[in-house]
Assembly symmetry: C2
């Protein structure tokens, strides 16, 4: 439990939606933390020591104990700081939250990655379809202002990838994955979410991210 | 919470380690359930209705409410039936349990699948290496009789894939992934785990599973 002398650190990259998930959750909880800035493509030995399995950001450290994997970190944050819960208390609702959050990583994330980086046109079409199928399930699931109801919850935070990253990635890579015409409810949700005062404060500058993905496009496919 | 009139159902396949996870957890908790038998390659419309996203077993149904994804189901079972907890109570220990359980699915499962089914020799070697690297992390993590300590816990149940399935799969496909020489602690653990009275009761017959994977080998590569 939270003590007075606790130290919270986040090893992060400005470009990572997984780091932003952790930062939004901490801000919602009102937990102060130290941000240790990592560099894309040149992660520190400290980061790799803390996350030897995946060698990725985010790494979250609470009183010298490291945790990796953003969804695992979100559960830890919610269990450790009880204010403004991001998971519901009912076990069935919690199960659904875990299911939809995993879907975002299993289907949307891997779909977008493949759609962006494959050199095979057919493979790209297939990945776009798979991503859209996952977005359609989320579109159907969205019944209130947020996935969490009237307030932002765990699924909303996990879905920052969709709300903020996918529109920028599709612009940089010239893809059409997530449009307001095809997913009107999800699009409205993304606007509400991105403009939520706590979320807004933790999102990286749009132009920084767009420049980052344009550079990734060029290093993968050559300049346009 | 558990009521008197509750109904618990598991839609399963005898060949699925993910279904066995759920069955072991229910048996540990002493929860009675109805088993709805599905057929590999010919899943019922009922199953697909309950799990439209993945169209896979297991589907777990408690009082008409369906849950998919075995690790999500395990968390639900532990939150609903409090006896014989499979997750520790400390948030940091819970985070580690979730981290290692996810690793089993992210790395071991996908590594084994690729090692079995790729037609590319280099790809196969790489997948074998990746699987072994994940097994080595688990070997290093194993400090007691079980991952859960003196009793079976969440990671042990998740790792039924390693204890029982991988030895059979590697025999059927002629691979060397998990050997007692290379992973002595994990091998001893697997023997303890497979012989635990509750686990033993829920494992499918070894010969049935071996015949199933030999048939999968032959349908993929032709007869030996």
């Amino acid at each position: 439990m939270a003590s007075n002398k606790e130290e919270v650190k986040v090893f992060g990259l400005v470009e990572s939606p997984f780091v932003t998930r952790v930062e939004i959750a901490l801000k919602l909880k009102g937990v102060e933390y130290i941000y240790e800035k990592e560099k894309f493509g040149n992660l520190s030995d400290t980061l790799k020591k803390y996350n030897p399995v995946y060698k990725k950001v985010p790494v979250f450290i609470h009183n010298d104990k490291p945790i990796a994997e953003s969804l695992v970190i979100l559960e830890y944050i919610d269990e450790t700081w009880k204010q403004n819960p991001i998971l519901p208390s009912d076990p069935y609702q919690r199960a659904l939250v875990r299911f939809w959050s995993n879907l975002i990583d299993d289907k949307c994330l891997s779909g977008v990655r493949k759609a962006c980086f494959t050199l095979d046109e057919k493979e790209r079409e297939k990945s776009i379809e798979e991503t859209k199928e996952a977005l359609q399930f989320l579109e159907n699931e969205l019944k209130d202002k947020f996935f969490g109801g009237e307030e932002i919850g765990f699924v909303d935070i996990a879905a920052v990838l969709i709300a903020f990253w996918i529109p920028i990635i599709q612009e940089a890579f010239g893809l059409k994955l997530f449009t307001s015409e095809e997913f009107p409810k999800l699009y409205n949700w993304s606007q509400e979410f991105n403009n939520h005062p706590i979320v807004k404060e933790k999102l990286p500058p749009r132009e920084t991210l767009l420049a980052f993905y344009k550079a990734r496009y060029e290093s993968h496919f050559g300049s346009k």
